[in-house]
């Protein structure tokens, strides 16, 4: 059975990078797939990779991570300004991040407006 856990932005917004990464990895290590509201900053993502590497062993093989943008691709000047303003106000709250254990998620494909998760079971069925 797959378990998805939604993590609202408000739940991690006030945490520093270390605490944020700790919280996310704890959920992943419970074999749950995280649907995180918003996106992580680059330094947070590299911290997440670093911490993941520290925890890899025979059972925990690492993570899969992907982001989905909800920002408009509209190139019009006023829409761009509006996007910059909203980002300034909301921070990294826009978009969606999926993080899951690599033992469950084998591959994530972005299309770029939709995300496909390929789990271990789906891949086995495909091979049959």
């Amino acid at each position: 059975m797959l378990t998805l856990q939604f993590v609202p932005h408000s739940e991690i917004a006030n945490l520093n990078s270390e605490k944020k990464v700790q919280k996310l990895l704890k959920i992943v290590r419970e074999e749950k797939i995280i649907l995180l509201e918003g996106k992580l900053y680059s330094n947070e993502k590299s911290d997440l990779i670093r911490k993941t590497m520290e925890q890899i062993d025979d059972k925990f093989k690492g993570i899969e991570i992907e982001e989905l943008d909800t920002e408009s691709k509209d190139k019009a000047f006023f829409n761009k300004v509006r996007t910059i303003f909203i980002n300034f106000i909301l921070g990294n709250r826009r978009g969606l991040t999926i993080i899951g254990p690599a033992t469950i998620i084998k591959e994530i494909k972005k299309d770029p407006d939709k995300i496909q998760l390929f789990t271990e079971e789906i891949r086995k069925k495909k091979k049959k």
Partner: protein, 210 residues
């Protein structure tokens, strides 16, 4: 991390603190061709190879350094210290190495060393003056590993050149790499065959403002 490890790292980093030396890092996901490119550069200008390459991922598991490489092109000269880094990944599965033909013990050791290699690569990001990000142009460029590497370099204001490697392969799609990172210079090469290596050296001069 042990005291000796910390001391060794500090010592190695201090080796590069000499004035006027550019540290050129080679970064990217595993099996993109980082060491193949590093070998091409060191063979061309030093006459020796930098490291071993393998079809099995994570062949480079330690930071490799070659000092004082001088590239000459069209009357210009560029001297740098080349830093070849282990591939950055979000997952490492020793069973994949067993499938590739390694014994279980060897596979587990390789996985352990590879995780340490990824951590070292990330730690060394701060020390680079310029970075060449090597991507396999036959693969999807929009991976979070690629985005994270480039995002971290951008945040540190480190100049970046993206190499779309393996253009000798049929599935290669340099335009897709360019479309993924439109704000960066992207150059298509084949480090293995040597295609467009002169173009790559020219791009290095531009990257380092020479």
């Amino acid at each position: 991390m042990g005291l000796f490890d910390g001391f060794l790292k500090k010592f190695l980093k201090n080796l590069f603190k000499k004035k006027g030396q550019i540290k050129l890092g080679i970064y990217g996901p595993p099996n993109g061709g980082k060491t193949t490119l590093a070998n091409k550069i060191t063979m061309d200008w030093l006459g020796e190879e930098m490291g071993s390459v393998s079809p099995i991922a994570h062949e480079t598991r330690e930071i490799q350094i070659k000092e004082q490489i001088t590239v000459k092109s069209k009357g210009k000269e560029l001297t740098f210290n080349l830093v070849d880094t282990p591939g950055i990944a979000t997952k490492i599965d020793y069973e994949e190495f067993i499938k590739a033909g390694l014994e279980e013990k060897e596979a587990k050791t390789r996985a352990k060393e590879a995780t340490k290699g990824v951590i070292d690569s990330i730690k060394w990001l701060d020390d680079m003056d310029a970075v060449v990000v090597v991507l396999d142009s036959t693969k999807d460029p929009y991976s979070q590993v690629n985005i994270t590497i480039i995002g971290n370099l951008e945040a540190r204001k480190i100049p970046v050149l993206i190499v779309a490697n393996k253009i000798d392969l049929k599935k290669s799609d340099v335009k897709k790499v360019q479309a993924a990172f439109p704000q960066y210079d992207v150059i298509g090469i084949s480090a293995k065959v040597g295609t467009n290596i002169d173009g790559f050296y020219e791009a290095l001069f531009k990257l380092t403002n020479r």
